[in-house]
Symmetry: C2
Subunit: 507 residues, 2 copies
């Protein structure tokens, strides 16, 4: 794809340069129409700039991406972002992320130094455009892609990745569990401008032919290094699921719904040993540190239904994750924590409050939570409700859920629905948290609405192509609907409150 | 349509009889499969019953509905439900609603007597199946239908009404503003088993050829009586918009976005007189009381964008609505209050708290609120986020918003999306509020999920047809996907956490 194509017309890519010429931060600039005043005169509307995640694809780069961070990585030497921040250094990555967020670079550095934010960027993934995850910044959205044993094609997964970042995904996870896991990940990493996360246990299980009881530290370690060398930016590691948690999970209605959690539980039960992810955690930290990968400490015991929400298994694991966070920090590793899952609305805030307390304010990264178990086919919506709430209370990144959740592997259409739903949830949270500047875009679209600037309304929203199509569908065929009429098919002309307002104000 | 058709397979209509044989309360009964135990033995699962709004259509009645409440209305004489409740009487309508909610009839009566709940049922609409709106009951969902000057067909609106109640709408509003307003409403009323609401001002404006300055109390009064005689169950009346509020609204970014509010503001400004809806409110109460219609006091000054949320115009009107509530109650009229609109998440609860305080706990009925202005094409989702939150805090009924909001008149597809989105939001709120029994259905679907009873999962959710279709799409062609396989295309067999759980529990 070259440019934003038909999905974001009247948009162009611009770059803001930082303190050195190779810090070039992308933004999408939306051209706006003039405001036409009652007397016929016109006022100019400044183009509106928004955060952009689409990367060099929208500059026309179709093949592997350039290694733009290579010089910064070489210059920094063998230090992690966390170690730099603790020493008071502002890395180019921190400055890059700060420009994106419209904050001071020192603020990004201080949040990283305190463990409240992370910049997940493997040294071996120099193609990335740096971004920061933390609750004082814009709420981020992750999109899961990856094949399964049932559906598998490298081209399709690459296409889903590009589609996800076009719609605004801030990171992607390659959760492939099917064929060609290494090759699929390689293709994604070399073409992806956002951080890429994985769950290394999936590939380790593939290596032992899907039999969890044949897993071992050695196989796992080898897989970690393989993926680290490829450039994976953050690793989900379910090191908090311990032997003592299994009886707690067995009491549940749904048991263990995390794939990683259930695999490790099966391994522990078959060996009658503590999880090798836990017993070898210090060695894992050493590998993770060497590449400056970020930890995403997995919630292997997240509740899979409302009946299991906020139970002893879940919060027992959360406490363990807090202890592991402190170990990771000692090793200089950036760390975030994964969260639920299925949680009723009134129990959402407790999840956030306990995570902040138990994990020392490390960023929280949640899957939903889904606020009901009944939303099959609409789980993106149940997740957006819970996600908006938990992000308002402090969650730093939402993992999208698509309409196919619980039913099957998402296709491109599902990826778009899932990303946009969670962009809306994340933005709703940013407004509620009072992130500076978050409301500017709402105000701009509302002004456009009031002034019947239909094209600007479309172009300022999250999905201009759909908005334009929907308006077209509901006007009679052949009508010049886009910019001409000062009403829509909902109310018609006489009943248009916007039109009446203009009459009231000018009378 | 006869029966539930392909949309709700394995469902049948059942009736629960009350204290007299003509109190027959519909429920939809979902047949469940047996649980297959690890040893091959089977356990029976009781059929699951859910609240049903679809009415006699799903018994095969295709034409006008039978007047099932006629005898109750005749027997009660000229008293409203509120007057009966205050006298300690339990009407058949109260008992009917109580059976639907699985509560004691006296509880429904007491909530109505206190003004905290309403049963909106015009004496001239004997076709209705009674239901109660109040924050101690299941959160309700309203679907707006009706034509506009741009799109108009009685058959289509009738079809949308049936479609809305099939998916679970508890009431419908006919907001027609186009041709054949009287005939469209007549068709809807004679075929609709749920309460029907209108905004009488729309037809009054049609009668004066769309010129607000030609409106008068006489035209309005005549319209009220015309609609009351037809059987409209609740009237939206924007009597709280006063002259002194107009300057407050003129300061706003979006001004007045309610059609009724903007029409009345234009009238007041052209006449330099107080709103006839306000000055004649006592006479309106007399008409409304005679038919036992319920008031839905309209929020003519609801915020149309985040910048205008919770402002002086909005809360000034809310206080006026509180005073009008007391006048309506004095006349024996059941009353609810309409609410916003566009409100950021952190200001949602204040809306609810102030409404309860200012309007003496009369039920609140909100449009969303939408938690961002940016969700064009996805406004049902922005509304579901705000709706779930406000209903959790006490809102009694959510007016759906469809994906076409701000863009055009919804079609059947949009109606389904809008209703299901708000059913999910309403249910999420019921779970959070702790409505007794609300979680039973979540637990049933989660048990089915854990046991790989795919058909039961589909049938227990809000949209079985979509869930089944989505699963089918994501399995390879020709696979017997529905009940056979103990995994899905998301994870494949090796990575299925549910399968691993069963192994853990039986090992």
């Amino acid at each position: 794809m070259t440019g934003y194509g038909k999905y974001f017309p009247h948009s162009c890519k611009v770059y803001v340069t930082g303190s050195q010429p190779d810090i070039r931060v992308p933004q999408r600039e939306i051209e706006l129409a003039h405001t036409v005043n009652p007397d016929g005169s016109e006022n100019f509307n400044e183009p509106f700039r928004v955060y952009d995640t689409s990367g060099p694809c929208t500059d026309g780069v179709d093949g592997p991406l350039p290694a733009r961070r290579a010089a910064w990585i070489a210059e920094r030497g063998n230090k992690t972002q966390l170690e730099c921040a603790r020493e008071g250094l502002i890395t180019p990555e921190m400055e890059f992320a700060a420009v994106r967020e419209n904050v001071k670079p020192a603020f990004v550095r201080d949040e990283i130094a305190a463990g409240r934010a992370i910049i997940p960027l493997n040294r071996c993934h120099p193609e990335t455009e740096p971004m920061v995850i933390g609750r004082k910044f814009r709420t981020k959205v992750n999109a899961n892609i990856g094949n399964s044993a049932i559906q598998s094609s490298i081209g399709e997964e690459l296409e889903k990745m590009r589609w996800a970042i076009l719609w605004g995904a801030d990171t992607v996870m390659d959760l492939s569990t099917g064929k060609d896991i290494h090759e699929t990940r390689e293709a994604i990493l070399r073409h992806c401008p956002t951080p890429v996360g994985t769950v290394p246990l999936y590939q380790a299980l593939q290596k032992v032919a899907g039999d969890a009881t044949n897993l071992s530290w050695n196989v796992y370690r080898e897989t970690l290094i393989e993926q680290a060398e490829q450039g994976v930016d953050y690793f989900t590691i379910h090191a908090g699921v311990l032997q003592r948690h299994i009886p707690l999970a067995n009491k549940r209605l749904m048991g263990i719904v995390s794939r990683g959690g259930s695999i490790m539980a099966q391994w522990m039960q078959s060996k009658n040993e503590e999880s090798f992810l836990y017993t070898h955690f210090a060695e894992i930290c050493e590998i993770v540190r060497d590449y400056d990968i970020a930890f995403s400490l997995g919630d292997g015991l997240r509740p899979g239904c409302l009946a299991d929400a906020n139970d002893d298994a879940q919060f027992g694991e959360l406490e363990t994750l807090g202890k592991l966070t402190q170990i990771a920090w000692k090793h200089g590793c950036q760390t975030m924590i994964e969260g639920p899952g299925h949680v009723p609305l009134h129990l959402v805030k407790e999840n956030m409050d306990r995570q902040l307390a138990d994990c020392f304010e490390a960023p929280f990264y949640t899957l939903g939570p889904l606020v009901t178990d009944l939303a099959l086919g609409y789980d993106h919506l149940a997740s957006a409700i819970g996600g908006a709430n938990i992000a308002w209370h402090g969650c730093a990144m939402l993992c999208y859920v698509t309409p196919k959740e619980h039913l099957g592997l998402p296709n491109k259409k599902d990826v778009r629905e899932g990303v946009v739903a969670h962009k809306i949830a994340a933005h709703a949270a940013d407004l509620a948290k009072g992130i500076p500047g978050a409301r500017d875009r709402d105000d701009a679209i509302s002004k456009a609405r009031f002034e019947f600037r239909w094209e600007d309304q479309f172009n300022l929203c999250f999905d201009p192509e759909r908005a334009r199509r929907f308006r077209g569908q509901s006007m009679p065929p052949g009508e010049p609907f886009e910019t001409e009429q000062r009403y829509c098919s909902m109310c018609g002309e006489h009943f248009c409150s916007m039109r009446i307002n203009h009459e009231i104000r000018t009378s």
